[in-house]
């Protein structure tokens, strides 16, 4: 009796251990299965981006690596680190032809882009993969549509005009650097530039200018550059202000009247 009871206790004990073990397995397995699918799913998505990152890395290794370093960490005296600058900055620099830079200088000039927009996206993906960074909101179009032009004008005059000028014509900075004109710049590029501060431009992060305020500025810039039809005349004299006006009064006004004096004094 005692032996059987002992045996039975041992059997029950083993059964209990099995049950606990099974229970633990179920919990662990349950937990695992609760979290594992999302991990698997993300990995599946990562595979799709991976190909962009890989393509981006290939371009990077042939065109950017000499100045920005093996892993975008930058090269002393040649190019800054790209860790954490985000894809917006990459796409702005590449799509406006500023990067890759032909030669070191005061500032990379804009020009014909070397890469297609798709390739710029790959490069952006690679840099994004290296360290993330700020991005242009997807609903920029809607933001600009709802923007307040007058509010944008106020913001533009305070934040932008000291370099880009009242009329967006650009201006000189020190030592050969310059703020480019804003004629023919797309909404997205304007946003990217404000967000990432390319070349000598300061960064206007979202805590300085909210996305709505950036959209206001974009709306104002596009208005004065595209919609303001220069009501004052056929020629806007480059919107340079008094310097070209002074040139015009001598080249046009005084010249015409000097010819008139020759004509009048000649007719005696």
């Amino acid at each position: 009796m005692a032996a059987s009871a002992k045996r039975r206790r041992g059997w029950r004990k083993r059964l209990g251990a099995l049950a606990r073990f099974t229970g633990a397995l179920v919990i662990v397995g349950g937990l695992y299965s609760a979290f594992a699918p999302s991990l698997y799913a993300q990995e599946a998505e990562d595979n799709a981006i991976d190909s962009e990152v890989v393509k981006g890395q290939e371009l990077y290794d042939t065109s950017c690596i000499s100045c920005h370093g093996d892993n975008g960490e930058g090269v002393e005296g040649r190019g800054p680190s790209l860790i954490g600058i985000g894809s917006g900055a990459v796409e702005f620099q590449v799509n406006t032809g500023r990067m890759p830079m032909a030669a070191q200088g005061a500032q990379a000039p804009s020009g014909e882009p070397v890469f297609t927009e798709e390739e710029a996206e790959w490069l952006g993906a690679y840099i994004e993969y290296l360290g993330g960074g700020a991005e242009v909101p997807d609903d920029l179009e809607i933001l600009v549509e709802d923007a307040d032009t007058a509010e944008g004008g106020d913001l533009y005059r305070v934040n932008c005009s000291s370099c880009h000028g009242f009329a967006g014509g650009g201006g000189a900075l020190s030592s050969g650097a310059h703020a480019p004109d804003l004629i023919g710049v797309s909404d997205e590029e304007l946003y990217q530039a404000m967000l990432t501060g390319p070349q000598n431009m300061p960064v206007f992060a979202d805590n300085e200018l909210t996305p709505e305020q950036k959209a206001d500025i974009i709306a104002y810039v596009q208005y004065i550059v595209n919609d303001d039809k220069d009501p004052g005349g056929v020629f806007d004299l480059g919107r340079f202000g008094p310097s070209t006006e002074g040139l015009a009064i001598f080249l046009v006004g005084i010249s015409a009247l000097l010819l008139a004096t020759l004509w009048i004094a000649g007719k005696s």
Binding site: A106, F166, A172, S174, V234
Partner: protein, 527 residues
């Protein structure tokens, strides 16, 4: 209906008689109408200033009807979209209204501004003519002084007008002027506070300079112009030396009908040029500049061109600050701004006296001098022009740097070195060029004109045949006195060949009757 007898002539005579009976007009009118003026294109430059001033009065009156010289705050609700709902002063709002709501307001504003630039530019060109020809010498020093004063009154008149709209650009200009005023030792801060009614920008400066701009300064200008032109009448106009012209006569055309016709035509032409420029070229687009806020300074901010050289001097001057702590600090802007402007007023005023001190020439002069005959004065004039031009370019050095891809720092240093070196260099070069031109005149007087005919002696020597201007002595030299008058340099100037074609749009050359060979026949003969 009864037909009137008599013709227009007798009617005029009758009307003239009636007027003379009442107002005693005949004698002064005769003097005026028979007044003789010498004819030369360079004598018409001052008229450009006079007629653009009249146009300024006319367009300015129109603008004053709609402009509101008040710094009171308001919110824009006009038709220019990017400023709707923006807070601004009433002065700026009314300027926008003149541009966008008032019928013909924009063209009037632009004509007023272009006429101002023309007024200032023509005064400079006129001043250069007077200077380089020595027309400021006795007895006309007073008129030179009045002219210089008028330029500076107009300078401030223009600056005030530029400041009135209270836009972003003009406010920046006012700020610089405030800085200059405040830099004057001891009285500076008080003067600035008095001008702006407290700290900049205050709320009264626009209404104050409005009265200066539309009343006080135009009145001073009008008075000075009256004296200026009156003195030209009283002292008679100067003339170039030439055949029949002496220090004691005036050779030219009568006021009526020649000169009156020319002047009226010229006035309308000037107004036409201003109107055309106002229609074609956009000037001072204040709506792009926004309302003035003390925190906003745009890149590429320049004053109008006549103020720009001062701006340039300020930009070039090193940042040398003199301190006598704790009592006294002299800001660097004092030297180019206040001392520079002071010298720009003073030195031209004193120039006739300075020159007389060097030349010891106290005689009366009614004949002009050619620039080449007074190399030192011409050199000084060119020196001033070069200095002024470097100042103007430096005033716009950021626009230059941006447009032509030059480093702004290079522009500044180029200007600093250039403004010291180039005027001296240009004085020397001008002096030598003047002597060279004189030398050539003397050579022609001594040896005659170059004919372009090359001869060869039996011994092989080549020489060019010269046409003496008078009977030569046995060495082939002529004893002609150098008198500062133009010397003929080409054969056709002495009548040896037909004159060069004078047609402007089409040839008005007539066949000469010397020997019956026309140009066509000569050319046909060569074929």
């Amino acid at each position: 209906m009864k037909r009137r007898n008599g013709n227009a002539d007798s009617l005029m005579t009758k009307a003239g008689g009636e007027l003379d009976d009442r107002f005693k007009l005949a004698r002064p009118a005769r003097v005026l109408m028979n007044k003789v003026f010498p004819d030369h294109w360079s004598f018409l430059l001052g008229e450009i200033a006079l007629f653009s001033f009249i146009l300024l009065l006319l367009t300015g009156t129109f603008l004053a009807l709609f402009f509101e010289p008040s710094m009171a705050h308001t919110t824009y609700e006009g038709s220019y979209v990017p400023l709707q709902g923006v807070g601004m002063s009433k002065a700026y709002e009314s300027t926008l209204d003149i541009s966008f709501e008032v019928r013909g307001g924009l063209i009037m504003r632009q004509m007023h501004h272009w006429a101002t630039l023309l007024f200032m530019a023509s005064m400079l060109v006129h001043m250069m003519r007077i200077f380089f020809t020595g027309a400021f010498r006795a007895p006309r020093e007073t008129n030179w002084l009045i002219g210089i004063l008028m330029f500076w009154v107009a300078f401030f008149e223009g600056f005030f007008g530029y400041s009135l709209p209270d836009d972003g650009l003009s406010g920046t200009g006012l700020r610089i002027m405030e800085g200059m005023t405040a830099s004057i030792p001891f009285i500076g801060p008080w003067a600035s506070a008095a001008l702006f009614g407290g700290p900049f920008p205050g709320d009264s400066v626009i209404s104050m300079i409005y009265i200066f701009h539309v009343f006080l300064f135009p009145l001073i200008l009008l008075a000075l112009i009256t004296v200026h032109v009156g003195l030209v009448f009283a002292q008679k106009h100067t003339q170039w030396p030439g055949p029949g012209r002496t220090e004691h006569n005036v050779v030219g055309f009568r006021m009526f009908p020649n000169y009156v016709m020319k002047q009226v035509g010229f006035m309308l032409f000037i107004w036409g040029v201003v109107a055309a420029m106002a229609g074609l070229f956009q000037i001072n687009p204040v709506w792009l500049f926004g309302p003035y806020e003390a925190s906003v300074v745009s890149s590429g901010s320049q004053p109008d061109f006549y103020v720009m050289y001062l701006d340039g001097l300020i930009r070039l001057f090193p940042a040398w600050e003199f301190r006598m702590a704790p009592y006294f600090t002299l800001a660097p802007v004092f030297w180019p701004g206040i001392v520079g402007m002071g010298l720009s007023v003073l030195l031209p005023l004193l120039y006739p006296a300075i020159e007389r001190r060097f030349t010891k020439d106290r005689g009366h002069h009614n004949l002009l001098q050619r620039p080449r005959d007074v190399p030192a004065r011409t050199g000084v004039g060119v020196m001033v022009i070069v200095f002024w031009l470097i100042g103007v370019v430096s005033g716009g050095n950021d626009v230059f740097a941006e447009t032509f891809d030059i480093s702004l720092n290079a522009m500044t240093w180029g200007g600093r070195i250039g403004i010291v070196v180039l005027p001296i260099l240009s004085y020397y070069l001008t002096y030598r060029i003047c002597l060279g031109l004189q030398q050539h005149d003397r050579e022609v007087l001594a040896h005659g004109l170059e004919t372009g005919i090359l001869m060869r002696d039996p011994d092989g020597r080549f020489y060019e045949v010269h046409q003496p201007l008078a009977e030569p002595d046995e060495h082939g030299h002529t004893e002609l006195e150098y008198s500062g008058a133009p010397v003929p340099k080409k054969m056709n100037r002495v009548g040896a060949l037909p004159p060069t074609d004078k047609g402007f749009f089409k040839s008005i050359e007539e066949p000469s009757d010397n020997g019956g060979t026309s140009r066509d026949e000569i050319e046909a003969g060569h074929k």
